[in-house]
Subunit: 406 residues, 2 copies
Amino acid sequence: MKLEDKISPSFKNIRMSPIVTISELVKKKAPEFKAKTGRDFVCWQRGEVDFPTPAYIKTAALEALEANKTKYPISGGEPKPKEAILKRLERVYGARGLDADHIVITFAAQEALELSFGLFRGKKGAGFAPCWSCALENFIPYAEIDFTEVPLKKDFSIDYDILKKILDEPGMSLFYLNTPHNPTGKVFSKAEITRVAEMCKEREVCLISDEAYETIVYDGQKHFSASSIDLDNIISTFTLSKSYSMTGWRLGYAVTRNKEIARLLKLGNYTQTAGVYTFGQYALEQAISNVHEEQKAVSAMVAGFARRREVLYAGLSRINGLTIDKPGGAFYMFPNFSNLIPKNLTGEERNKFIFNRLMNVGVATVYGSCFGRHFGDNVRVSFSTTPVPVIEDGIARVTEALKGLG
Amino acid sequence: MKLEDKISPSFKNIRMSPIVTISELVKKKAPEFKAKTGRDFVCWQRGEVDFPTPAYIKTAALEALEANKTKYPISGGEPKPKEAILKRLERVYGARGLDADHIVITFAAQEALELSFGLFRGKKGAGFAPCWSCALENFIPYAEIDFTEVPLKKDFSIDYDILKKILDEPGMSLFYLNTPHNPTGKVFSKAEITRVAEMCKEREVCLISDEAYETIVYDGQKHFSASSIDLDNIISTFTLSKSYSMTGWRLGYAVTRNKEIARLLKLGNYTQTAGVYTFGQYALEQAISNVHEEQKAVSAMVAGFARRREVLYAGLSRINGLTIDKPGGAFYMFPNFSNLIPKNLTGEERNKFIFNRLMNVGVATVYGSCFGRHFGDNVRVSFSTTPVPVIEDGIARVTEALKGLG
């Protein structure tokens, strides 16, 4: 038997992110497009954040380095950063009754989520569709989860009948909830999240609550964190990547009231990486404890996103035949193009119809089928890296590209 | 079914490192010991390094932070750090014919090794005994590997007959080799490593070559890197943790001439952590490219270890009945106490007999059964954190504690 044939399906089933593939396509097409039109690509496909990391957090990293926080970390997290996380969860979400043994510091939410899916290797899982592509392409195949998508309604509200039916399946072990939601920007309410958590608890299903966009909410809305629910079947995962513009730092954490699960996540984190780089943990501590600097930096960033959201939403809403919900959080919109796609198209041709049209005018997006089986006529538009003038240019191009359709 | 009962054995089978357990025991016993004797514990159990991270590497991290290398890393590794790795492998080991697609930058050797074992989830594997405890306690159970220990001879040389017999087992998929070797300090020769690699290749077995102690060798010996062998069944893993005194930075890399394996390791790295923190990759680049500073820092550190090794080896050699090999590399010795342990003792009582005697005089070591089934009468002594005067004190205590035995 060849060596390659001995490799586990766990690795072989991982797919490269379609978003990376799209970005590579953009890189290839951009020079040609520029030569022909004199214009740059509008990069609405990316989840990167274009704001710099706030200076106070960089300073904290420097200070930790100078203080020689460069020896092996305590796996699962150093005491002081954990203490800061507990304080923050209480301050921001009113989460009480948590202690240091409920927290595991991880390499961003990525590792927290990967470990959480991994706990249920080979078991049945479910989650709302549309679903963050990285869960579908990476976490689920890597953990060999038998995954069922629970479609949200057209307005992205929850269909509890379908949810109940799928959670009732024998052997169901995990449910993946992401709020604020990628790709729709929906902010699930306290009532929705609590009801889902209780439905999971009744069936001893683990609720994996991905709260990566926790600070990015609009119009006075507030993110509700599942970590504040007093149930032992929940893992909440957090990252500084989006909320503090720290994508390249790889800093985050998992919170669960189930100490056995926390213990196993910590062992998994130790096994995979031996813990998060020590001075990074102290940068995390400062990022979330220096409340004055934190609020200044985060509110400036969110105000920036809010301006882009207004312009993008207003512009896309004006396009005939396109239906769109105004997102409550994150930095995505997920408009539906059903009325503009020729009825006879099916399969790959249908999935990429709008995407290709927009690529032709130098606008990169992510087509809906990257987020599962149920929203193939939608397209994700990210406003995380494009300032207002670029958004205005993008809207003009999209409007032009869709003229005469539907 | 309870939620906890749905959790995969992969996580449940991980064991906490016995070395961590020993360190916790030391922490508990130390105050009492100090009160009674006025003396501190001699910590010979640890693999931490007590030298600080060289200043030029800290400066490189600061510069990368200032240059805002804080956005998402390219998963698998940024181009410039990869280029630096390729240059170093050629400069130090004469490794030719490698390119960027053969390199995956990881969270230290820990992640590189965990991913490499993970590739062969559920398959048969083997490795020399004694064996680094973390492989036995973490990587092997996490990947659910059916693992066979191949005992080294008493002088830590390879018994090729046993090796052949075990590699011939149907379904054998990986062989774990660690050089310079933890816990014995043995430096495997070019001839030994090449022969093992070829025996693996003949059977399409993946050789996982753990080279964590590559720069720590004595008496003019040179580490031979399996990455320089032109075979496609080898994964070499490297870390800056020990070699550059950077345990808390979590920076390392995997090298393999098999592009399919490199591709899958990269996907695994992306899935687990989305890549190594960006400014850390640039610190790694500088650590290994600034040859002048590197040689100054590494040679000072290795000279420090060499002095400790002379004192420790001379002292332990003088103890009657103890047999000991002078280590060629790393910072461990693995003396055998068979002649000093009462013949009638068995099981746990035998395994911990010497360890307990030494704990009673305030000397912490790691008992041999932590490194597998075959060297239960040995004990690992680490000189990575104890300066010469502490080593001298330790030798005096050990000599006293063993008096009258055998």
